[in-house]
Symmetry: C3
Subunit: 136 residues, 3 copies
C-alpha cells in the first residue's frame, strides 16, 4: 500500500536506481512490516539542476540528494517512523548513496484513500494495515 516516489539524479545509473528502489522497499518491509508483495513505486530521474537542496542545512553535508516521499496510511508510531528512516538510509548506503544525501518525507492518509486495482478499496476490505495503531 505505501506509494513511494523516488526523485533522483539521472546521472545515477539504471542499476543504482533499481538498487535504491529495492532498498526503500526492503526498509518498509523490515521497519514497518508491510508485506513483501505490497510494492508500488514511481522513480523519476532528473537533470541535476532540477534537484535543488541546501548543501548544509542542519549540519548535514549533502552532495547529490535522493528524495524519497512515501504516502502511507496514518497510524504508525513515531518509533516505527524513526526505525524506517534509519533502515532506508542504511540500505541506501549499501546501494552507494551517502547517508547525508537521503531526504525522506512521509505523507499520511486514511484507509479508504486507496484502490490498488479493479476499482475496489482493498484496504477498507482488509480493515487494517501492518504497524498501524489506529483504525480510521
Amino acid at each position: 500500500m505505501p506509494l513511494v516516489h523516488i526523485d533522483l539524479s539521472a546521472q545515477r545509473s539504471p542499476f543504482q536506481r533499481r538498487a535504491i528502489a529495492d532498498g526503500v522497499h526492503q526498509a518498509l518491509v523490515d521497519a514497518i512490516g508491510i508485506p513483501a508483495d505490497d510494492r508500488f513505486q514511481i522513480v523519476t530521474p532528473h537533470d541535476p539542476e532540477e534537484l535543488i537542496f541546501d548543501p548544509n542545512y542542519l549540519g548535514v553535508a549533502r552532495r547529490d540528494v535522493v528524495y524519497v516521499q512515501i504516502t502511507l496510511v496514518q497510524g504508525r508510531s513515531r518509533e516505527l517512523k524513526l526505525d524506517l528512516y534509519r533502515r532506508i538510509t542504511d540500505l541506501l548506503a549499501e546501494a552507494g548513496v551517502r547517508p547525508e544525501d537521503v531526504v525522506i518525507t512521509l505523507v499520511e492518509n486514511a484507509l479508504d484513500n486507496w484502490s490498488v486495482g479493479n476499482g475496489r478499496a482493498q484496504l477498507v476490505e482488509l480493515g487494517t494495515v501492518p504497524g498501524a495503531r489506529v483504525e480510521p
Copy 2:
C-alpha cells in the same frame, strides 16, 4: 480544485494519455460532483522501469500500472470515495486501461491549502467544495 497526478508508461500513446486524463476528470465530475471546469492535472510519462509494482498484490493481476494520485479537500464520505474508484476504473477501461492496472491514492488537505491563481485562496472565499461534509 482537485490536483491530479497521473504517472504512466511513455509507451502509451499521446492519444491514450489524453483519454486517461479525460477519464479521471470525468469520474471526479460524475462521482464527487466537482465542476466540469475545475480541472488541474499533471501527466508524467515514464520509462517502464521507472514504474514499479507487484504483479499480484492482493490477487490483482497487474501488467502496466497507471498511477493516479488525487490531492483534494478532505471531507468526502467513504461512499463517495468508493464511487470515485469504480468510476475512474470504468472510464479508464473505455480508454483502454485494464481495471487491474488502475492504482489510485487520495491525499486530503484543507480548504485553505489551495490557490488556483492570482495569489488568492479561492476555496476559502467559496467556503465549501462539492461533496464535502465538513467545513475545515
Copy 3:
C-alpha cells in the same frame, strides 16, 4: 523542511525555471519564516500537453500554469498561508510568470514525518518549526 514540487512547461527557459524556484523559496522565507538554508525543491519540466488546466475556472484566465505543491509541517495559520500565496505569486511575477498562472497546493504533515539526512528525524529533535502554532 518544506519539500517543494514545481511542475512547469519545458518551454520555459532553464534560467526562468531557476528564477521560479528561487522565488518560491524566498516567499517561504518571507511569509512563513523558514530558514534561508531550509531549501528542498524538485523541479519537473513537462511537455505542454502534460500540464492540463482549465483556462477560466473561477474566472482566472490561465495560459501556462506553473504548479507549485508544498509539503510542510501542519500548524501554519490561515493568515500565514494567505500571505504565502500572495508572496509566491508576487515573486513569480518578477520571474516572468503571470499571476493567473500560479496554482499552489499545500499538503501538511507531522513533525515526525521528516528526515533531512543521515536517517535522523531532525524536526523531532528540534521540536518545532517556524510559524507553526501547534506541536504534534
